[in-house]
């Protein structure tokens, strides 16, 4: 496409501004995690790894990281199983209410996190508490799974839609029974979509804060929640910077991998 010179220049400036707004703060976090000045004075008077060592020894941060990993893995596992099953059902079978189901499955990603959070909180307290199950890690996992399912579902169904049904028919025609067909044909063809969906789901769960706040029990703190509650404490500020920098790195990796695996599959809008 050919643009006029002024239009081109305007577009370039706009793009540069956009990137600056997104990435300069992230860069600052990284720099400040190495800034010897406790109050993040600017410019940094030098370079130090003191805060990284502090963060490493901070048991609060380590526990929170561990909790986040457990929550992310749990939610991703649930999402992989349920999201894949629903995607297969919606794509391969016709049944009453099929369109309604695929709409209802995708809905949680569009709902404001605070609504999901409040709703889950109420539901857990009225249903689970009488059964003796309080809010805790388990409820966080379930809460995260509600939106993690969406990304897995979207990835898998996009792949299934583009895959002609004749591959599976051909396998059966050549003598493979249903399960064999799944193992030899269907699974290898949707595998990369599954992995991409799983990575995105993990990344989503890993930096979630709103739903987590409403579904976590008293002793449970995920990494984002820990950051949020320690940000206000001045003496913790450098450690928070370190943890934030780690969080950025940890979220970038799965998203980068997922992008490479499925440059074309639909993904959730929260990322």
């Amino acid at each position: 496409m050919n643009l006029s010179r002024p239009a081109r220049i305007t577009l370039r400036i706009a793009a540069a501004l956009g990137f600056a707004v997104i990435y300069v703060p992230l860069f600052l976090v990284l720099v400040n995690s190495l800034n010897p000045d406790r109050s993040s004075g600017w410019p940094p008077p030098g370079l130090t790894f003191e805060w990284w060592a502090d963060a490493w020894h901070s048991s609060g941060a380590r526990d929170a990281l561990w909790t986040s990993v457990k929550a992310g893995l749990g939610a991703t596992a649930i999402a992989l199983v349920l999201g894949t099953l629903i995607a297969f059902a919606c794509q391969r079978y016709r049944f009453f209410g099929r369109d309604a189901i695929s709409f209802v499955v995708v809905l949680p990603i569009a709902l404001p996190g605070i609504v999901t959070g409040v709703a889950l909180n109420t539901a857990f307290r009225t249903v689970l508490e009488p059964l003796g199950v309080g809010l805790g890690l388990f409820t966080v996992i379930v809460g995260h799974a509600t939106f993690c399912i969406v990304v897995v579902f979207n990835n898998v169904i996009a792949r299934l839609r583009r895959m002609p049904g004749s591959y599976e028919e051909a396998a059966m025609d050549l003598g493979a029974h249903s399960f064999r067909t799944y193992l030899d044909i269907t699974f290898p063809l949707v595998r990369s979509a599954l992995v991409a969906g799983g990575l995105l789901a993990f990344a989503l769960s890993f930096d979630e804060i709103v739903v987590t706040t409403f579904t976590a029990g008293p002793g449970i703190q995920t990494l984002p929640v820990w950051i949020f509650s320690n940000m206000a404490r001045p003496q913790q500020a450098p450690v928070v910077n370190v943890v934030a920098a780690v969080l950025v790195l940890l979220s970038v990796i799965p998203i980068y991998l997922a992008q490479r695996l499925s440059s074309d599959t639909a993904s959730g809008s929260r990322i």
Binding site: P164, S166, Y167, E169, A170, A171, M172, D173, L174, G175, A176, H177, S178, R180, D184, I185, P188, L189
Partner: protein, 358 residues
Amino acid sequence: MEGMAIRLQSLRKSFGRTEAVAGVDLEIADGEFFSMLGPSGSGKTTVLRMIAGFEAPTAGTIELAGTDVTRRAPFERDVHTVFQDYALFPHMTLEQNVAYSLKVRKVPKAERLARAREALASVRLEGFGGRRPSQLSGGQRQRVALARALVGRPKVLLLDEPLGALDLKLREQMQVELKAIQREIGITFVFVTHDQEEALTMSDRIAVFNQGRVEQVGTPAQIYERPATPFVAGFVGTSNLLSGDAAEQVVGDRATYSIRPEKIHVLKESAAAEPEHASATGTVAEVVYLGDATRFLVDLDAGGRLTALQQNLETSSEDVAALRGSRVSLQWHRRHNFQVPEASRPSVQDAPGKHVSK
């Protein structure tokens, strides 16, 4: 029954309100090259998919080699399919694709590789075994699909418009090859096409489909020369029908007659009728130059329009173009008048057409 590869009895299939297949009875013999010919939407693919087992019939039975397989899954039937889109597994090499049916049947690895290579060689693709389907041309994919379906030596091979995606040249070449392969290995081919020429040149017998039913089953010559219904007369070859008043004046009988275009001679209006010939005068409405032949569309004075096909033995394109709008006399031997049975639906073999010579 012995020697029957496939028998379909009152086969029906409805999708919601559409009746895709509306009662089909067919018997296909062992080793036959059997074609299903019909316009788009006439139910050919649906019949094929029911034989393969991908679609369960709404009613009726399917027998393969004398055994009722109506309720069996695709992997329990001794038929293989060549799909219209070939359906080669994209994540496997050609060798793995071709060897797949052997792998499923637990044929030892060495044997299955040898047989896959042999099958690829038989479709002239030796040395391509390590490639992926995406690295092939359309014609090569078609041949791999054929090799994959043939390597397990099924009793019956189903082919759904396998040549549809190929260009004319390749298509003609593949028609010859398919026919040669079928003759060589002697298995039953059920070949779906909507190309009448393809069906006529390749088949032992043809079933003409229309709106979910079989209009006629017969050899290519029977179908072409003795169409059992007006539909068959119109669908196979050029529709060239005389009926009503025109038929009464020209042939002498109020009925529907089919006259094949190539039997009709285009002569000067003044030409005297030869003995035993029917003749009709008219005006040339259109002249279509086809290279080796010319097609004349003539509006008859008696009413109706006939198409005549003339070989361009001595004429050139300029000569024939000048004939547009001129007056001509059409003549043909009376034995080429074929009376088409009125709108009945004889769906059984050899529905007798009546040859009239007046």
